[in-house]
């Protein structure tokens, strides 16, 4: 049987999601994801073309508020949770590399 998702597709999806997988992990995830997609195949038989999609339980309208300045967070307190900080900014490794 052809799996519902191929090893190559899983590798591609992992790259998109910024996850690095070992060869063994790739095998395991491919068969596990295929099993979930197999289960979801019961939806294929349903004809729902005339039914509107729902993104949410209740119809949402834009929620607006008066544009009044309020209290924000202390910069120091927010930056405390960051792995690396310099002069009130998040510090990151080089953006451009060899790859």
């Amino acid at each position: 049987m052809v799996e519902r998702i191929s090893r190559e597709e899983v590798a591609h999806v992992a790259r998109l999601a910024q996850l690095a997988l070992s060869e063994d992990e790739l095998d395991a995830f491919t068969s596990q994801l295929a099993a979930v997609l197999d289960h979801a195949a019961d939806l294929e038989a349903l004809n729902v073309d005339d039914i509107e999609p729902s993104t949410h339980p209740f119809p949402l309208k834009n929620v607006l508020r008066v544009d009044e300045p309020g209290e924000g967070f202390e910069i120091e307190e927010v930056l405390e949770g960051a792995p690396e900080v310099e002069e009130h900014q998040f510090r990151v490794p080089p953006i451009l590399g060899d790859s």
Partner: protein, 479 residues
């Protein structure tokens, strides 16, 4: 002691908040090493908070409805200055700079936070085995799982660590562990309780709710945490709930439907033990004057499939923020892009990776319509079928979980088997409706069984009235 009783005695000065907290810490010290309900016990801070409550009472101040009541908080709810990990290595050590709205409300009501409870990483799972900090065990049998993902909160209440706990429910993560641990667990109407400060998993499904040993304690807690919050744009513009005063109104004349598709006649895999407890629940509700009939929600059987596309799709987007730049630990690499990949690869566990990939796949070009688009239409179908059922019925019931608690390790190798645990609870999340689990006796294995009560949007009060009837006849004999 029940929460309502603690609050009364603390407020009247009959017992000090410190004594209450000390008593609960003692129980935690005795058996927490077996149960592992907590990622963090905040005993020291809890005693300081208790003293503060006691001095307020001494000076004649009136306190809120949860004065001096210890409460355990699922570790995906932000607590200012207190580690909030989501049971993930990717947030290990992170201390939020703010309190979730529900935490603010609990503090205002006088509740005392006693610890942060274990969960399946980022609330993804049904057994609390997917935690970076080890599994939680079921207090009724330490060889069994407590359910999940809010397994730590359910176990904390079942073990007597605190009379109350908060959890979050995206596909059953409050109700299923409540059933497996023999406690009350409530998922309110979507938008009833603010999600501000709840770490997002699937934003259109997530809802915060209470665990308690009794229906009235769950009602009181829900009243405290409910109500409109301008910081959550999906929060319903309504006043906090008022349930407690109506709890004893019974079910006389109510029309209650038993969802056939979820009670063993449609789906396989519902155990005989569970089916026979549902039959007993039908008798109890009928004897109390309800008109109980079979009900049909045909599309509910597609809930699981639709959910395991929609929830991972939303999760793949929500969890993109964990990249080692702004919070949590970082795995350093040569470039920023490589650092992000290294951090995510090391920081996320397997189940979280599975769901991120599943969601990324379902949203990717070429598959969007077949999976995500279709699932959103099925979601509408489920809502329509519920609407039809509620033309005839005031409430619906079903099992909460297909089985009683299963042994640790039983389902970890096969994710699909684990997902089936949520088959009865997922439809309510997709529809945004309230639902709760009430403990209703035990299976042949001696493990608790829960009955699920489902209600239309905003009908929490009627749902609780039925819960109260089941509780009174459950034969559980809550001490």
């Amino acid at each position: 002691m029940e929460a309502t009783e603690i609050a009364e005695k603390v407020s009247s000065g009959e017992i000090s908040a410190r004594t209450v907290v000390e008593q609960h810490i003692e129980i935690i010290n005795e058996i927490e090493s077996d149960v592992n309900a907590f990622n963090l016990v905040t005993a020291e801070k809890a005693l300081i908070d208790a003293d503060e409550i006691d001095s307020k009472i001494a000076s004649g101040e009136t306190l809120g409805p949860l004065a001096g009541v210890p409460i355990s908080i699922k570790d995906n709810l932000c607590t200012r200055g207190i580690e909030t990990t989501c049971s993930s290595k990717i947030l290990e050590g992170w201390k939020p700079p703010y309190d979730a709205t529900v935490i603010e409300k609990l503090k205002e009501a006088g509740a005392v936070i006693i610890g942060k409870t274990n969960l399946d990483e980022f609330a993804m799972g049904s057994s609390t085995e997917n935690s970076a900090f080890g599994p939680t065990r079921n207090p009724h049998n330490l060889e069994c799982v407590p359910g999940g993902s809010s397994g730590g909160s359910a176990a904390a209440v079942a073990a007597g660590f605190s009379p109350l706990a908060l959890g979050s429910d995206t596909g059953g993560s409050i109700r299923q562990p409540a059933a497996l641990c023999g406690v009350v667990g409530v998922k309110p109407t979507y938008g009833r309780v603010s999600r501000y400060g709840l770490v997002a998993f699937a934003s259109s499904l997530d809802q915060v709710g209470p665990f308690a040993n009794t229906v009235s304690d769950a009602a009181l807690t829900l009243e405290v945490i409910s109500g409109h919050d301008p910081r959550d744009s999906t929060s319903i513009p309504e006043k906090p709930l008022d349930i407690s005063g109506f709890l004893d109104q019974g079910v006389e004349g109510m029309r209650i439907g038993v969802i056939e598709e979820l009670s063993g006649k449609g789906l396989g895999g519902i155990s005989q033990d569970v089916i026979s407890r549902v039959e007993d629940a039908i008798k109890v509700l009928s004897n109390a004057g309800a008109d109980v009939e079979p009900a049909s929600v045909p599309a509910s059987i597609y809930g699981l499939s639709a959910y395991y596309v929609i929830a991972p799709a939303e999760a793949s987007s929500n969890l993109a923020r964990y990249d080692g730049i702004r919070f949590g630990p970082r795995t350093e690499a040569a470039t920023t892009a490589e650092t992000m990949t290294a951090t995510r690869t090391k920081g996320f566990g397997d189940e979280v990776k599975r769901r991120i990939m599943l969601g990324t796949y379902a949203l990717s070009a070429g598959y969007y319509d077949a999976y995500y688009g279709k699932s959103q239409r099925v979601r509408t179908l489920i809502m329509n079928d519920f609407a039809k059922a509620y033309e005839k019925f005031d409430l619906l019931i079903s099992p909460t979980a297909p089985t009683t608690a299963f042994p640790l390790g039983d389902k970890t190798a096969d994710p699909m088997q684990m997902y089936l645990q949520d088959v009865c609870t997922i439809p309510s999340n997709l529809a945004g409706h309230p639902a709760m689990s009430v403990p209703f006796g035990f299976g042949a294995d001696g493990m608790p069984v829960g009955i699920q009560i489902l209600a239309p949007a905003m009908a929490e009060r009627e749902m609780f009235q039925a819960a109260k009837i089941l509780e009174s006849e459950s034969g559980n004999g809550i001490e």
